[in-house]
């Protein structure tokens, strides 16, 4: 609990630092490409088109999902996924990759994962903006339900941060953690209703899938952008469960981070 308070304080005091470093990170990553930042959006766009082709056209015959075209249903969920996936992967590497950069300064190390994830958040917001424009053109106009997006984007960010706080610490001690996380994320991707609907699975299995936070997050994005219902309230049990899970991971991550922080230099 103590470390959680310390962590939140450290994050709060470093907001300016985090957002500036996130912008620098985007600059550094894209300086050598002629199209620069365009790639931050272009790469996921190409991947989305392929997923739609295979899972939408190929496997589903472009059939609607509760009255919403499959491609829209998929886009809303998968834009969240690209953000989480990239954020968690790069965030996990953040400490052992960037430790030497900041080693000789009194740098608040817990902001390494958060600035990496914030950089990804900017890309996510740009992509989400484009997706929204596409929805508006097709007749899915902004509604009051959009305000749920703030919650779901915030929750995605917090989950990504809580998870990487733990994994980045573990990855310093045992480098293999990075590989494990990569595999786990791939498993989670296909076990979440991002590209496909679990409605043909047995009842118990469907229930079991709801323990996966990506289930809640992807459907939350969809509810806000497309289905116009109050997902947070209608599925209040899942809301409580996910908030509880987030707090638990965050506490675990915070205590691991502070426990090992002083000894990072011994492992790197």
């Amino acid at each position: 609990m103590n470390s959680l308070v310390k962590l939140l304080k450290e994050q709060y005091q470093s907001i300016y630092l985090i957002q500036r470093l996130a912008l620098f990170q985007l600059k550094i990553d894209n300086r050598n490409n002629y199209l620069g930042l365009v790639w931050e959006v272009m790469n996921p766009a190409i991947q989305m088109a392929m997923y739609w082709f295979v899972f939408g056209l190929g496997l589903r015959g472009n059939q609607d999902v509760d009255g919403v075209p499959f491609v829209f249903w998929m886009l809303a969920g998968i834009s969240m996924w690209f953000f989480m996936n990239q954020g968690i992967l790069d965030g996990t590497k953040s400490i052992h990759q960037k430790f030497n950069m900041v080693a000789k300064m009194n740098f608040p190390l817990s902001t390494l994962p958060s600035y990496v994830i914030t950089g990804k958040l900017y890309g996510h917001l740009a992509l989400l903006g484009i997706v929204m424009v596409a929805f508006w053109i097709s007749g899915y106009h902004p509604t009051i339900y959009y305000i749920q997006l703030i919650y779901f984007i915030g929750l995605s960010y917090s989950f990504a941060f809580a998870i990487t706080l733990l994994t980045s610490t573990l990855a310093v001690v045992v480098r293999d953690v990075q590989m494990i996380i990569q595999s786990l994320l791939r498993i989670m991707f296909f076990l979440s209703p991002i590209l496909w609907l679990p409605d043909r699975l047995p009842e118990t299995m469907q229930k079991f899938m709801k323990f996966n936070p990506f289930y809640y997050l992807s459907n939350g994005y969809r509810a806000a952008l497309l289905y116009n219902d109050w997902y947070i309230i209608d599925h209040w049990k899942m809301t409580l469960y996910n908030l509880g899970l987030l707090t638990f991971i965050l506490m675990l991550g915070a205590s691991a981070h502070y426990k090992f922080r002083d000894r990072f230099s011994d492992f790197i």
Binding site: Y16, F24, I28, R31, M101, A103, K104, F107, R263
Partner: protein, 264 residues
């Protein structure tokens, strides 16, 4: 006089492994594999406010480990270190990014060093002037020569205003004129009454700059006292060491290394 840094019986042990397998074994069953190596051993030392202390010793003696412990970069294995004031390590090459331009790097490294937005704005013109880079400041750092890069890093580093400074081999940067400029900057810090720890192999610099010297040999504090006293003895040792044959020099180093692995 007020104490600035008090080092009490500080030891830093490293675990050394010959292979990945040893490392994993040791992680799972502590003490089962690998060897201890004492980078520094039972060092006690008190620095008073305004002290300028030089660390001397041959390569691998533990000077950098000790300065890293003072800088808070490395935690001691046992012992205590008490610091009254903010410590800053002058790390010239840390925190510079090759993809960014000089001017972007000023903000980037400034952020990493914990500067606020206002402070960065305030010191940027000073840094540009001090670094002597001219129009190169708008070029990406990857196009710089190593001397130019170090100048930029040094110029950014010295804008910090801490109570306690750790300088590890930072003054061998750039050409002679820049070295003189850096030395002037260091003397400015000295006159302001900052506590300074200075690590260098340049004995001339140590003699002219430091008030006290700590001689470290094989991880132990061999002698600590006023500059003239310690340096004359250290210089005798160095000339004696140089006069030894290569085999004897090696034997001397091995003896020290063995002691550092054995002692518990």
């Amino acid at each position: 006089m007020k104490e600035a840094v008090v080092i009490k019986n500080v030891t830093k042990k490293y675990r050394m492994y010959r292979s990945k397998k040893e490392q994993i074994t040791d992680l799972l069953i502590p003490g089962k594999a690998g060897k201890n190596f004492n980078a520094i051993e039972d060092i006690s030392l008190t620095a008073y406010q305004g002290d300028v202390i030089g660390f001397v010793g041959i390569n691998g003696s533990g000077k950098s480990t000790l300065s890293n412990i003072i800088g808070g970069i490395v935690p001691p294995t046992t012992g205590e270190i008490e610091k009254n004031g903010e410590v800053h390590v002058i790390a010239i090459n840390a925190g510079l990014n090759n993809e960014l331009t000089g001017i972007e790097n000023i903000e980037f490294k400034g952020l990493l060093m914990g500067f606020s937005r206002e402070k960065i704005k305030e010191v940027t013109p000073e840094i540009i002037k001090f670094s002597e880079l001219g129009d190169f400041i708008y070029q990406p750092v990857k196009k710089y020569s190593s001397g130019m890069k170090s100048k930029l890093g040094f110029a950014i580093s010295v804008t910090a205003d801490p109570d306690i400074l750790v300088i590890d081999e930072a003054l061998s940067v750039g050409d002679q004129t820049f070295t003189n400029k850096s030395l002037d900057k260091m003397n400015e810090f000295k006159e302001e009454g900052k506590t300074i720890f200075f690590v260098s192999h340049n004995l001339g610099q140590v003699k002219s700059f430091c008030k006290k010297v700590a001689w470290i040999e094989g991880g132990r504090l061999k002698k600590f006292g006023p500059t003239e006293e310690v340096m004359s003895e250290y210089e005798d040792f160095i000339s004696h060491y140089k006069s030894l044959s290569k085999e004897k020099q090696e034997a001397f180093r091995n003896e020290l290394a063995e002691r550092r692995q054995k002692s518990e």
